[in-house]
């Protein structure tokens, strides 16, 4: 985020330490961190535990498969017990993956299988992890238009859930997909693009693994570019006021709103020919834990929390790094959390974010993770949260050891009131009828899914809730 001093400087840290002593037991009671209960590694049938990244979802699949090639995958889909669910890195917070049937890993489908130098296109296997993909594409002189914030997901999972980066003119990752190859429930292999099996292409590009298992995609990329990334701290009101201008001025821009501090980080990046200035040692996670410490010791006194944060951040200079975009824009996020993210009409994003911030600061002093505000260009995938709509996202996080019920109970009603569409991989309470109202082509997508998988081989309980009315 910024330097270590940003959140708790030497003076600030000392005051926090004093506050901790003064607050004593009250502070501990106010902010209880509880390690989630870990289910047994193996169930009564000898089935191995699967658990998602944040730890709130789990399952004991009857079978696990890691096919080495497409023909193996086809044979598996024809014979394996359902529901068949493909898993990448397990980074989704929703129940997309859990199955008591078959869990399929595409880890053996990894790498760039071809590229076109002139057209700046690359064909990539969908088990490829994003953290590795940037370097692979750089090897052929390319980069994706969008770089998501986290680098751990598999490409297939990222595409299937509408994962995105930020930038008013930057589509989400699936916006770069010009064709894909998919194994259907019947064991057919379908090649789809805007001109070939176009309905399948439009419906399944963001498909939650409900239409089939996509094994590789061809991406329209751009030439590898060096960027200048700049991070500065400003008062939150100023950041939100500047948001429209920032979106016009920078290739990528996002705001991290730091709740209970009155401050926000504005992070921008733009192409440059400047010499490389490496990002250096990662201080963001240290800063995050310092925000937690501030929460731990000062949740009883929001005014003190805000004052200390202000003292620590005052005079902090902007941080600049220059390097290839994939090295600077995706990040390690080792501190686990649960998350809700909604995509709103761009023009209401800042207003909605301010309302969410006020609600959280009024009701949930245990929250310390930054909120993320990002912007995404419109695209034409039927189930894309950005379908025909330039969007602004608002993401709210809860530390994995803390209660996250406020995301659905407090935050979601606000974001829904502003017309938001939830990120498919992040917490939400919506079901088919809600999605039908939010997505103009939802019924068409339902029909395509029904045709491809009439028996629901790829549908677990959660996916059924999304696609089946009831």
């Amino acid at each position: 985020m910024v330097s270590r001093r940003t959140v708790l400087g030497v003076a600030g840290g000392a005051v926090v330490a004093g506050a901790a002593v003064a607050a004593g037991e009250y502070a501990l009671k106010a902010t209880r961190d509880v390690e989630p209960v870990v289910p047994p590694s193996v169930d009564g049938h000898g089935r191995l535990l699967w658990r998602n990244w944040s730890g709130i979802e789990s399952a004991y699949p009857a079978q696990r498969a890691a096919p080495a090639a497409e023909d193996e995958l086809v044979a598996m889909v024809k014979s394996a017990p359902g529901p068949i669910r493909a898993v990448g890195a397990g980074h989704s917070f929703t129940r997309l993956v859990p199955t008591d049937g078959t869990l399929v890993s595409l880890d053996n489908f990894s790498g760039v299988s071809g590229h076109d130098v002139a057209l700046l296109q690359a064909t990539v296997k969908t088990g490829t992890r994003l953290g590795a993909l940037g370097e692979m594409l750089a090897g052929v002189g390319q980069e994706m238009f969008a770089q998501p914030d986290i680098n751990k997901q598999a490409l297939g999972g990222a595409l299937g859930t509408g994962t995105h980066g930020t930038g008013a003119l930057q589509p989400a990752l699936h916006g770069g997909v010009i064709s894909f190859r998919m194994v259907t429930a019947k064991g057919d292999v379908v090649q789809a693009s805007a001109t070939e099996s176009a309905d399948i292409f439009n419906a399944a590009r963001v498909g939650l693994g409900a239409f089939g298992i996509i094994t590789e995609v061809t991406l329209q990329n751009r030439k590898l570019s060096r960027i200048r990334k700049r991070t500065e701290l400003v008062p939150t009101g100023e950041a939100l006021d500047r948001w429209p201008e920032l979106k016009k001025a920078h290739r990528t821009v996002e705001i991290y709103v730091l709740p209970f501090t009155g401050m926000s980080a504005i992070i921008t990046s733009d192409p440059t020919d400047d010499p490389v200035v490496p990002r250096g040692e990662d201080r963001e996670n240290a800063a995050l834990l310092e925000l937690k410490m501030l929460r731990d010791y000062c949740a009883f006194a929001p005014w003190l929390r805000r004052w200390l944060a202000g003292q620590a951040m005052a005079g902090e200079k902007p941080v600049v790094a220059v390097d290839d975009g994939y090295k600077l824009l995706s990040n390690e996020r080792p501190v686990r959390f649960n998350e809700m993210e909604y995509h709103l009409p761009a023009e209401v994003q800042a207003t909605a974010a301010a309302e969410v911030l006020a609600a959280v600061e009024k009701n949930r002093p245990d929250v310390f993770f930054p909120f993320e505000l990002r912007c995404i260009a419109a695209d034409d995938a039927w189930l894309s949260p950005f379908y025909q709509r330039a969007s602004g996202s608002v993401a709210v996080h809860a530390y994995y050891q803390n209660d996250y019920s406020f995301l659905v109970e407090l935050v979601e009603p606000i974001l829904r009131r502003y017309g938001g569409r939830p990120h498919w991989g992040k917490l939400n309470s919506l079901r088919a009828r809600d999605f039908a109202a939010l997505y103009p082509r939802f019924r068409d997508a339902q029909a395509v899914r029904q045709t491809l998988d009439p028996e629901g081989k790829f549908m677990n309980d959660y996916v059924r809730r999304v696609f089946v009315d009831g």
Binding site: G13, V16, A17, A20, V38, P39, S41, L48, L49, W50, R51, N52, W53, G55, S58, R64, A66, V87, A89, G90, H91, L103, S105, D107, N108, S110, G127, R129, G131, A132, N151, K152, E281, D282, N285, E332, P334, V335, R336
Partner: protein, 117 residues
């Protein structure tokens, strides 16, 4: 707080004296299991964190980070791997791995000899 700061400082000083960070990072980034299949599993998942010290995960081959963990016993480390533990995500984000694979990969990262059995 002061004692905590002192402990953190001492730990940092000891770590600095243990081995240069660049050396730790270079080794972690370059290590791969000799078995081709396990190398594929490792590259697709474990290496994403354990090959990059900035992730916060104990770097592969770095005894200073691994030895205390290894003392907990392989079964405990396996349990932490399958269910997740602190920043360690469940399954190490390797869902193609079997428990036997996990054990071999843990040994590999901890710099322990392969199980003769």
């Amino acid at each position: 707080m002061r004692w905590l700061v002192i402990l953190v400082c001492l730990a940092g000083c000891k770590r600095a004296a243990e081995e240069p960070a660049a050396q730790v990072a270079a080794r972690a980034a370059s290590m791969l299991p000799s078995d081709v299949r396990l190398a594929g599993l490792y590259r697709a998942s474990c290496q994403n964190c354990h090959g990059h010290p900035e992730s916060g995960a104990p770097p592969a081959g770095y005894h200073f980070a691994w030895d205390a963990r290894w003392k907990q016993g392989l079964d405990t480390l396996l349990s932490h791997t399958i269910g997740g533990y602190n920043a360690m995500p469940a399954g190490g984000q390797c869902f193609a791995c079997s428990p036997a694979d996990y054990k071999v990969l843990i040994r590999f990262m901890a710099g322990q000899p392969a199980d003769a059995s």
